[in-house]
Symmetry: C2
Subunit: 225 residues, 2 copies
């Protein structure tokens, strides 16, 4: 079972090409090109993480999530399975994507635009910190699963290998900025650094953030301390 | 017919209170409080501007737009009337608000999140510059109206009185930045300055931009050159 993403992100290819070209030309690399890893910025559309128990309640006993698409972080995937979310005012979001593998908590990550259409307040939380957050009802082909809590807007964050943290001069829990270029560019503050040896350098923002600046694969992005 | 907004924006009240308090205390005003006018930042939800001909086609001969709510700019209002927009892939947006008074062109302003759900590319344009942009079909209670062009994402902009432009040291067509605070704050680049003696100082951003930073009435905002 391969765990590599199906195609290389443009930022990864550009980083490699830049290093090779500067080497061939015998020139010294600009600062960004000396980074140990390319900066990949991905937009996370609304999704959920589920426990094995929730997957069984929704899809049937013994059900295992199927891989739809491998994500940039090793081992993480978008599942083939999707759900219907029923909000506190009986408004609905269809085709909510499940991300795998299963976790030890149930969590739904929405954008504020989603929460306005559902008609409820969405707390801003670090992923995993769901105490006291609103819940919702999930509906799958085999049944319902009630989440008592766990519906959040995930705080924007950057996954970093310790080598990346050293290069940028930050540690886990620090806040960085992400400058995004283009004709409707912006700079995101409060980008939380998450550091782990298993992580590849990747910024996760949500659809509101990605659409505010019309982030495209070729939009220039820069991490700033 | 009163053209004043129904309630004062929080920024206007704060600006007045700040000036009075500093004066009573006999202290000199901080820089932002010396501005000739308060900085009001408003989120424009998707909406459209129509010609009198389009209003008649959609709502019936001789129909005049009714005022639902006065906006901050003098004479501008959200109309009681709403429309259904039918996109190029037959996907629909209901309850599209019309802003009045009528103009001499038809223009629909959407967010990128809207255009993704409609399934088409949305050009970023200065309001009024609609040549070569996509069109759509509008449906009202009295009939249909086909727009051959005019569906855009409006470039973020700030309305300024010449006094405001002088205070900030900018002129019409310049770009400024808007720094928005809070736990998911950001700084918007490429904020277009529009200057006219009839304008009150007001930034217009769309729902993607407002939701990216969870803009609330008490969120601190600052215009930066």
């Amino acid at each position: 079972m391969a765990t590599a993403p199906q195609s290389l992100p443009r930022a990864v290819v550009e980083h490699l090409v830049r290093q090779v070209v500067y080497e061939r030309l015998g020139r010294s690399l600009p600062r960004t090109a000396t980074a140990p890893n390319p900066l990949v910025v991905n937009v996370s559309a609304r999704h959920c993480h589920l426990t094995p128990q929730a997957v069984e309640a929704l899809f049937g006993q013994g059900h295992q999530l199927q891989v739809h698409k491998w994500l940039y972080q090793d081992g993480q995937f978008a599942a083939k399975e999707t759900l219907t979310l029923i909000g506190p005012r009986s408004r609905v979001i269809s085709n909510l994507r499940i991300l795998g593998p299963c976790r030890n908590l149930n969590q739904v990550e929405l954008a504020y635009t989603d929460s306005i259409s559902l008609g409820f307040d969405l707390p801003l939380r670090i992923s995993g910190n769901i105490q006291g957050t609103p819940g919702c009802m999930l509906m799958g082909p085999a049944g319902f699963f009630e989440m008592n809590e766990g519906v959040i807007r995930a705080l924007r964050h950057v996954h970093m290998h310790p080598d990346d943290a050293a290069f940028y001069g930050v540690k886990a829990g620090d806040a960085m900025k992400l400058k995004i270029g283009g004709p409707c560019g912006l700079t995101l503050d409060q980008l939380l650094c998450r550091v782990d040896p298993s992580f590849k350098l990747e910024v996760h923002i949500d659809t509101d953030e990605g659409n505010a600046c019309n982030l495209q694969p070729d939009t220039p992005c820069e991490l700033i301390k």
